[in-house]
């Protein structure tokens, strides 16, 4: 892994100003992505993983707003950019693949027009040339007979094929950073394997960086070089993938590993009690404390900060030094 930074997010706060109150969806998230690396962003619904991605692209839907923080991409301050400058970055330098290809592709335009639109928006080339380029990309993402299929509409493609089109669209301008937001959650396992395999291949071929957003620890173990664990809008742990699975330092990470059923072994699932907290009034102190089996009084009133376990491993937990947590890799 080259340790050259590509994306640096620091102290990001993105809130949603709803009638019921201010939802602190992302509350002080810092993370970084190096060149050519895959960062796994793990968390459950409401952890802020998608909103973090949307914030970097500056496409947070209303009533959401970036309240605070700094987002630096390749030395440029993204939050200082004008909207027209951002438009030049979206799609060409930073792209995103969403979970649901059915709603992210426009049903009334053919695949050809959706792909060439993006290519011609960012590159000064003619229609014919753009179409040729689009066909080539479809071929790369494994769509059979791309010359004929490119003129079809999204509904004529199956779920897996639609997601390939969505990946093709994201990669059309060879971005340097790709956010993949649960790209395989709606797909069958055999199709998921196809798409993950495709993304792995494309990533190394194009030399880009990727942020893999998922709640599936299996996909993380398979794809990510490094992992950032999010909970209720905050970063709980940062670690290289192997270290995270071998010796997690945050009780939430441990609990997450112990709660997922595994294909390679049958074991007693350890339940995480309770529910994901309400982000309008998050629990005081450590946000995980009401569900944490190791919580002590300090956890209920003091917010833990990220501390260094090793240079590449940071954790936000008051008790990480004294706890001996079990990883997910024990047989």
């Amino acid at each position: 892994m080259g340790n050259e930074g590509l994306l640096q997010v620091s102290g990001l706060r993105t809130f949603f100003f709803t009638e019921a109150g201010v939802v602190k969806a992302v509350d002080g998230v810092s993370l970084h992505v190096d060149k050519r690396e895959t960062l796994g962003l793990v968390g459950e619904s409401g952890s802020g993983k998608s909103v973090t991605a949307l914030s970097v692209l500056r496409i947070v839907p209303r009533p959401g707003r970036i309240v605070e923080g700094r987002i630096e991409f390749d030395g440029q301050d993204l939050l200082a950019k004008r909207e027209d400058e951002m438009r030049g970055i979206r799609g060409s330098s930073i792209a995103i693949v969403f979970q649901d290809p059915i709603s992210s592709l426009n049903p009334v335009y053919s695949v050809a027009s959706q792909l060439t639109e993006i290519i011609r928006l960012h590159q000064r080339i003619g229609k014919k040339e753009a179409l040729e380029k689009a066909i080539k990309i479809l071929e790369i993402v494994g769509i059979p007979e791309p010359e004929t299929r490119i003129h079809e509409y999204p509904h004529q493609f199956s779920g897996g094929m639609k997601q390939r089109v969505a990946v093709a669209r994201a990669l059309a301008c060879e971005p340097r950073l790709l956010f993949a937001d649960e790209p395989t959650t709606n797909l069958d396992v055999t199709i998921q394997a196809q798409v993950l395999d495709l993304m792995k291949g494309l990533k190394s071929r194009l030399g880009m960086s990727m942020v893999m957003i998922t709640h599936d620890m299996g996909i993380i173990a398979d794809m990510a070089d490094r992992v950032t664990v999010l909970y209720a809008g905050q970063v709980f742990e940062n670690a290289p993938t192997k270290a995270l699975f071998d010796s997690p330092k945050q009780p939430y990470t441990e609990a997450l590993l112990a709660a997922v059923p595994r294909l390679d072994q049958k074991r007693t699932l350890r339940v995480i009690p309770g529910n994901i907290p309400n982000l309008i009034e998050p629990p005081p102190g450590c946000r995980f404390h009401p569900r944490c089996r190791y919580a002590i009084e300090r956890c209920t009133n003091q917010i833990p900060t990220l501390e260094e376990v090793e240079p590449s491993h940071t954790v936000a937990c008051h008790r990480w030094r004294e706890l001996e947590l079990t990883g997910g890799t024990v047989a």
Binding site: V189, A193, H215, A255, R262
Partner: protein, 332 residues
């Protein structure tokens, strides 16, 4: 393994007609072969899982067993009684009594609870329909049920929108248990829930089985949860069972090439186990015109000429382990 058989499904077939578009001259275009000659049985107190991808016919199998969709042909026996005879007879009391024994939990707890009813009404409604306990005891039973599925008394007066997904699924489970069934079909009960909540529901289902002696038909595409909860597994592909065995046996000695690919496709949460996966080409073919011979041959890496011509039968290859492949002997 030699317990009493509670449910037996024999040569179950369900075809859906496909009509051409148009108003006046609707023509029959063919059939969707949703379930094609499926046979299995479940013993009392055990869990059989049906796994398969979307379009494999697993949910249709469940619906046909409960007669929510009438079968094209085939029989289902519950405690030795012919289910379709009971549901088809004029004796509605008997049909209702049989319904009581067989309950269903749906995938989506957001759409399967009436938003205008309180939890108390939702859970007590089955009692009013089935009248299985005296009226004055209903309240006590409802509170007992809430406790059994891990909810509190004060939840009874609330409405479904006030609950999270996991809690709603608990309400659905309580409602299914209200009529004291022997058999529950759970159709993807955890796939719409968050990961930290899935374990709660899977454990709850296991605990209830141990406590009440329930029998489950667990339908899922998620092999990890299947391994966790089931005693036996049937793998379905395009309306047919291609492999059947006890859970550990199946995961340790996967024989059918489709099962092999399916299992290898699941990412294991352990970075040390990054293995090369068997990547299947293409997608599940159309069930309107399923491939000739073995239905899997279009995607099978081992397919030979014979596979296109002749349909394999489900044969016992190891003890209690059935696989439908011409080359069974090659794979174990």
């Amino acid at each position: 393994m030699s317990g009493k058989v509670l449910l037996r499904v024999e040569e179950l077939v369900k075809y859906f007609p496909v009509m051409s578009r148009g108003i006046l001259l609707k023509k029959m275009m063919g059939f969707v072969h949703a379930v094609d000659n499926v046979t299995f049985s479940i013993e009392e107190g055990r869990t059989l899982a049906i796994v398969g991808e979307s379009g494999s016919g697993k949910t249709t199998t469940a619906k046909v067993i409960l007669n929510l969709e009438p079968p094209t042909s085939g029989k289902v026996f519950f405690e030795g009684r012919d289910v379709y005879k009971v549901f088809g007879s004029k004796d509605e009391a008997e049909a209702l009594a049989l319904r009581r024994q067989m309950q269903l939990i749906f995938q989506n707890p957001y759409s399967s609870l009436d938003p205008r009813m309180t939890v108390f009404d939702i859970i007590s409604e089955p009692y009013h329909i089935h009248g299985n306990i005296p009226k004055e005891k209903v309240t006590d039973y409802v509170y007992d049920l809430l406790k059994m599925v891990g909810l509190e008394d004060y939840h009874a007066e609330r409405y479904p929108h006030e609950f999270s997904g996991g809690q709603r699924q608990r309400i659905c489970i309580a409602r299914a248990l209200a009529v004291q069934p022997k058999f529950i079909i759970a159709d993807e009960p955890v796939s719409s829930l968050d990961v930290s909540i899935r374990a709660q529901i899977l454990n709850l289902l296991s605990d209830l089985q141990a406590k009440l002696g329930l029998t489950y038909l667990y339908i899922s595409h998620d092999l990890s949860s299947v391994r966790q909860i089931s005693h036996e597994v049937a793998v379905m592909y395009l309306g047919k069972i291609v492999e059947f065995a006890e859970t550990n046996e199946l995961f340790n000695y996967r024989i059918h090439p489709y099962t092999q690919a399916l299992i290898s496709a699941v990412p294991i949460p352990d970075p040390k186990k990054r293995t090369t996966r068997i990547i299947l080409e293409g997608e599940i073919p159309s069930p309107i015109t399923p491939p000739s011979g073995c239905r899997f041959h279009t995607r099978c890496q081992y397919a030979m000429e014979l596979c296109q011509e002749k349909e394999p039968t489900l044969d016992e290859t190891r003890r209690g382990h059935f696989s439908a492949c011409h080359y069974n002997s090659k794979f174990y």
